[in-house]
Amino acid sequence: MRETAGKLLAEGTVDVVIGYGRLETGAVGAVFVTKVADVDKLVWNDECHQDLVVYLTRKETKKLGRPAVVVKGCDARAAVVLANESQISLSDVYLIGMVCPGMKNTKAANDASGNLPLYDRCLTCQDRVPRHVNAVIGDEAKTNLLSPEEAATKGNFARLAKLRAMSPQERLDWWSHEFSRCVKCYACRQNCPLCYCNQCVADKNRPVRIDTSSTLKGNFAWNILRAFHLAGRCVGCGACANACPAGIDLDLLNLTLAMTAEKEFGHVSGREVGTAPLIGSFSEQDKEDFIR
């Protein structure tokens, strides 16, 4: 990875490599390498959970010039969605794809063997080898992938199944309890690679579309709206849930919609380049007849 990054910078293919580094606080997070001499700052390990694709649409990082970005399988899918939605051109960015063993959940308690467990979305991941990237680094044989059938019963899918087994009232109570902690800091939105709107509907104040108040009503409005806006778009990278200071399982809302998109429309976001966005397209073969 460092070699690739160094070569790209030395040859002038890119101006900045957005990758993972050991930060001054001891955590692993985004570093912005613009000089060949600094490529040693880049690291790759099982703490690289942040989705760095979020920086591709930030104006502060655009100023740094042509970017290369270190991506995992899920992050690569986010970059493909950005391309499919005409927000970036894949020919203008260099995606350094890392074969991913799954990331450690640094917020969880140690498991029985004294290690941090993987994020449960990593346990069920089907994208350990990034696709549509410019380089794939790592041993593809060591990805330790669960079969889709097995994955569907574990990790985040199991967490969702537990929710779905509840009665509607129980489920509403559960979400009310979770959303009561939301402070509307918008960490979910800001960390999401696909929340790139120039003006978010939550920021519209002439007139106000969603209460800015962090009341249960305002919190439901915001979180449900965001989930719907990510329907058929979310790639399940988990950046929203990881960033939430209130520890709300936002990924479950998005997972429900992603499963629906796949089941009803055969759509898996970011899997293929050139796919029309699910919400932004229609088919005459649609099973609902209102469309014809």
Binding site: G29, F32, K184, S213, P245
Partner: protein
């Protein structure tokens, strides 16, 4: 002689307070084990452990994230405005860290300056703060630099020291604190002790001087590329206090409310013309750091930070105040 109370007695105290219609806030664990300060209606779920790390700040019990200021109703050609009632309950907050409690004396002058903020002041007057002296620190703690310590009593009505056997030494510092524990403690010759204070590393005068002289330094942009511009740092900060006033409801009737706002959001300073005087995330970080370490102390003679480290703990990119101060400290040493 010291005064002792057991954890079970503390839980009974909470139950009694709740029954007597007193609002009680304390750390409560979620399913996943993370603790948050929340209002409780029974003592069962409360975590009363001096070592508990709590993810949110106690500020929302003094300066709620959402608060009604007044209501309005349109009648014929007139608008009738009714003031929101002043907070008149009693509330007690348990399990507060000294760095959180010490934010209250920092905020007091702000809410009693040109405008006497009755919303804050009534909550402050009616609240008893019961803190736990710290039993450990983590790498994000820097209370020593900000004049605090693991057993700092500032802002606390009572400070409890964990004796390690399910009991606590109680020290009270105000009439409210004394009244709360009156007749509930037993005498003992045992005394508690807080953990060691984090090392002091910062020269705040030099940092303040650097901030004042480097408004346009490229550092602000260069060192903040990783900030994604959410408000988690400001909303978890016990001293950040910015708010927005908005009207909710319809043309016919509604309410005017005060909601938390964050200087880290681009919308915070966006002008109606479309111009944004703080157009980059670096400029917004500069504002936050300058406000805490230069602007506020110039006005109120106290830093707007207690070194609690909440901002860095909640930050998805591990930024926050201390990493920024360290970067500035490096700059001050370069010359």
């Amino acid at each position: 002689m010291s005064q002792i109370i057991t954890r079970e007695q503390l839980k009974s105290l909470i139950s009694e307070l709740v029954k007597a219609d007193t609002l009680v806030a304390a750390p409560v664990a979620t399913e996943k084990g993370t603790c948050f300060f929340q209002y409780v209606n029974e003592s069962a779920r409360v975590v009363l452990d001096a070592g508990t790390s709590v993810a949110n700040s106690i500020k929302e019990f003094f300066f709620p994230r959402h608060e009604e200021i007044c209501r309005f109703v349109r009648q014929a050609n007139d608008v009738v405005v009714t003031d929101a009632p002043v907070f008149d309950k009693r509330q007690v907050i348990f399990g507060v860290r000294p760095c959180e409690a010490s934010s209250l004396p920092v905020l007091d002058p702000l809410f009693a300056w040109d405008y006497q903020d009755r919303f804050y002041q009534s909550r402050r007057a009616n609240t008893t703060v019961v803190s736990f002296a710290c039993t450990h620190t983590d790498p994000h703690c820097f209370c020593s630099d900000m004049g605090g310590s693991p057993d700092n009593a500032s802002g606390s009505d009572a400070l409890l020291f964990d004796l390690g056997d399910g009991s606590f030494e109680v020290r009270t510092f105000s009439d409210k604190g004394k009244a709360l524990f009156e007749g509930r403690t037993s005498s003992s010759d045992r005394t508690g002790k807080a953990c060691e204070a984090p090392a002091k590393t910062l020269d705040l005068d030099a940092i303040r001087h650097w901030i004042d002289a480097h408004f346009n330094d490229p550092m602000w942009d260069e060192e903040t590329y990783r900030c994604v511009g959410c408000g988690a740092c400001t909303y978890s900060c016990p001293t950040c206090h910015c708010f927005d006033i908005v009207d909710e409801g319809s043309f016919a009737k509604g309410k005017r409310v005060k909601n938390w706002d964050s200087c880290q959001s681009a919308l915070f300073t966006l002008h109606a013309s479309g111009h944004n005087p703080r157009g980059t995330q670096g400029q917004r970080q500069r504002q936050r750091i300058s406000h805490k370490f230069s602007i506020y102390p110039a006005k109120f003679k106290v830093f707007l930070c207690t070194g609690c480290g909440n901002c860095t703990r909640v930050c998805s990119t591990s930024l926050g105040v201390k990493p920024m101060l360290d970067k500035i400290a490096d700059k001050t040493k370069q010359k």
